[in-house]
């Protein structure tokens, strides 16, 4: 028998067959290829969070090759001369080594930190998008809760991350964490001693935070991200209302190749931005802060931005301490317990349960797949802006000493401004955004009823001037439009309804002329016109 020749041309087909015979993959695979995704720029915010998390995993793994999470004291003998001979922990020393003695180590550290900031920022903006468009409504409550938890897990993860290099800044943060833990009634000092393995700072907190930072929390975050994505695929994406879009379909492009290619492109661009920032912009220059010493602090020491609101609460919360006596012993509930334990606890719970609370108050049990414009839900928009205002006041107060110094305001005034603003800004934000939402709604309906302003002024025989309005659809006897408002953009300018024709694109010559023939024809046409 002749040996069969290996046929390269049919190899893909044959192996595809072989694979399908074993795994029955063709149906699920095609179903995935054909999955339809709606397109809107705001749907990309969550993607940025996902991409920066991948960058965090990559850069973090690199750092883990060199970082030594030990609190053993050593004398520095590295290349960074200003710190030579200084006592420091091995954790701090190895972070210095990553920065100065590992080739490419500094850019990895800086990319890791920038990626962390971007991760948290995109989570927050993504969360706002989901909130203000009502994407959290039934059936997506679980994904809202997962996403909300991801914010807090990311918050903790980042806190652990910048605590472990054991520099001047991170030690201060650890001390604050210790104080907050100890403020819990009854078990506080036991909890603090359990966490730190004794009195602050002890010798175990950095190794413990390290294992939380590189194993436990990343694993939880990864699991939740997987669940988040899984639910997204299962429940399908929400979409904006619009032509052909209903509560029962998804209108968009199929996942492969179009959507996947764009996604891959945006991943690369996110990665590019992080790489460029990591190389070009210094962040957390721990060699300037020195090793942690309990007696030293630089002024304007600020945590990462996503922790600043907590710092803001700590600054604004008045000195309300409860002291009482029981069986001859004195006891204390420090104010920070209310500010940094109870208040965040309340915020987390309200946030987690918001979808259910809203459904309960609006008696809404329907499935929703169409998004709402913020103007159409003035109360929710108002509540969201209220929460945002509360957050922003705390955030700004977390840097109120920097603001005070910059604008030459007294620190005490800044604290009081913050306290008053914390009470006044949220209701003001509610009222203002509520009114704005109603106003925008009103305007949409007006345009639907009376048409688009054309800018053409006419004079009636009786001498009266009036502007011509272009109706958007059929009108009744009074000239009023009969289109219903559909929850989507109402065109308000004439060129939005094709009055001007599209602009010709191209810088020197028009881009859209199809080919040379046509271009020649066009040129002739133009020449003929002269």
């Amino acid at each position: 028998m002749k040996k069969k020749r290996f046929d390269l041309a049919t190899l893909p087909e044959r192996s595809a067959k072989g694979i399908d015979e074993r795994f029955h993959a063709s149906t699920p695979l095609r179903r995935m290829f054909n999955k339809v995704f709606p397109d809107h720029w705001s749907f990309m915010l969550g993607e940025i969070a996902l991409y920066s998390f991948i960058v965090l995993l990559l850069t973090g793994t690199f750092l883990g090759l060199f970082f030594d999470p030990s609190m053993e004291e050593v004398k520095y003998d590295g290349v960074y001369t200003p710190l030579k001979g200084i006592e420091m922990s091995k954790a701090y020393e190895s972070t210095l080594d990553i920065s100065f003695e590992v080739r490419g180590g500094l850019i990895m550290r800086q990319m890791h930190h920038w990626a962390a900031l971007l991760f948290m920022a995109s989570i927050v903006v993504h969360m706002l998008r989901v909130f203000f468009t009502g994407a959290f409504r039934k059936p997506r409550e679980a994904n809202w809760m997962i996403g909300f938890l991801l914010f807090w897990l990311g918050f903790m993860e980042g806190l652990f991350g910048y605590s472990i290099p054991d520099d001047g800044l991170s030690g201060t943060g650890l001390r604050v964490i210790n104080a907050i833990t100890q403020s819990i009634p009854v078990i506080g000092s036991w909890a603090g001693f359990a966490l730190f393995g004794g009195e602050f700072p002890g010798t175990v907190i950095i190794p413990r935070f390290y294992i939380l930072h590189v194993l436990i929390f990343p694993a939880i975050i990864l699991g939740l991200i997987a669940a988040h994505m899984g639910l997204l695929v299962k429940q399908k994406h929400t979409q904006w209302p619009g032509p052909g879009r209903t509560n029962k379909n998804v209108v968009g492009v199929r996942m492969f190749p179009g959507f996947a290619m764009k996604g891959g492109g945006f991943f690369m661009i996110t990665f590019a931005v992080i790489a460029a920032m990591g190389g070009l912009f210094q962040i957390n220059p721990i060699w300037l802060f020195g090793p942690y010493q309990a007696s030293v602090i630089s002024s304007a020491s600020q945590p990462d931005w996503y922790v600043m609101f907590l710092d803001g609460i700590a600054r604004l919360w008045p000195a309300w301490e409860t002291r009482f006596e029981l069986f001859g012993n004195g006891y204390t509930i420090p104010p920070i317990f209310w500010a940094a334990v109870v208040l965040p606890g309340v915020i987390v719970n309200i946030g987690l349960l918001y979808p259910f609370l809203e459904a309960r108050f609006t008696k809404d049990k329907e499935q929703h797949h169409l998004l709402q414009r913020p103007r159409d839900t003035p109360v929710r928009t108002g509540l969201g802006m209220m929460a945002l205002a509360f957050y922003l006041v705390l955030f700004a107060s977390g840097g109120n000493d920097v603001i005070a110094q910059h604008f030459d305001i007294s620190l005490n005034a800044m604290t009081w401004i913050g306290r008053i603003a914390l009470l006044l800004a949220p209701p003001a934000a509610f009222w203002i955004s509520y009114r704005i939402a109603l106003g925008l709604q009103q305007h949409d309906r007006e345009v639907l009823a009376h048409g688009v302003e054309t800018g053409i002024i006419k004079r009636a025989p009786d001498g009266r001037f009036y502007e011509v309005h272009q109706p958007l659809g059929p009108v009744d006897d009074h000239g009023h439009g009969q289109l219903e408002y559909e929850g989507w953009v109402v065109p308000k300018k004439m060129n939005r309804i094709g009055a001007l024709g599209p602009a010709i694109r191209g810088f020197f010559s028009p881009l859209e002329v199809e080919d040379k023939e046509a271009r020649k024809g066009k040129a002739k046409e133009l020449a003929g016109k002269k």
């Binding site: 990665f271 010493q293 710092d311």
Partner: protein, 359 residues
Amino acid sequence: MSTQHNDSTFDPDEPHLTRFDLVREGARRDGVEIVHYEPRFAKAGTAAEKRVERTIAFWFMITGLAALAFVVVYVAWPWEYEFGGHLDKWYTPMLGATLGLALFGLGAAQIIWAKRLLPAEVSVQERHDDVDTVEQKLTGATLVNMGQELNVSRRPLLKGAIALGALPLGAAAVVPLGGMIVDPHGHGDPLFHTGFDAKQFNEGKPVRLVREDGTPIRPEDVSVGGQITAFPGVPHGTTNVHADSPTLLIHLRDNDAKLTRENLGRVEVNKGGMWQNFVAYSKICTHLGCPASLYEQQTNRLLCPCHQSQFLITDNAKPIFGPATRRLPMLPIGVDDEGFFYATSDYKVPVGAAFWERP
């Protein structure tokens, strides 16, 4: 998974079917209707299309060049740290710029490809989220049946046995965390003592105030109106082992000292804690434990930079602004025969942030 789209009469081998017919049929079976599908360029190979191709190729080239540059910089650029402004300071920025550009090119190429070359498409997918009540009932029955099969409620002995077995096992799973527990009031009651506790850390001998380098401090070392951070003169006294011990030793001007001395009587534990015009207060903020280290000579206020609590030194370090609720504890001081400062006792109240069992 839904199978209602399957059309068993469809024969993919029928000769008149094009490949795109198969694509459409596949999509249809997945509940997807491709309602609009149009190449970006009506005629293939036009100048406009070539132009887009060239743009994409350009970005791929950029990626290649920048990635190459990244590798070259990584390998060849002088990277080892030298003090001062040298070429090595450009190492990290060069890496960032080249890597950023390489990744950006790859991203741009893909996005332009997807937006300008791939066919324009609108597809509609059905959602199918009507609830199938029959399925619900079948699954429900299966679940209830499971319970029936186990039938714990009818077997009280097993119920009890499970409870008795599971609870101790649950406890056994949790107890090992007990390894973390450390008694905060155990060995030396650390919450209530600092490195100035002579009995614990200095064999009962009075503890001197020392500088960061461990040298003791004389009154004449601190100028009038000045201050110095002092540590307990015990082994490891200046390190983080005694993180609650850093103390601010202040040399007050005459009239401030007079005022301070008058006010001292108002706080029982502070009585007799001054030595001439010198006072010593804990540097550990009573709010959350930052070092309160900004001393304003004019007003005799000590400001904590963390959350801006302010303490009035001339009045027993009373908190006068900000979130702190308690005075900074005073370290009672004296000067020994050799002329060095020492603590006449440990701090009389706990140092640092408050906690539950703090009186």
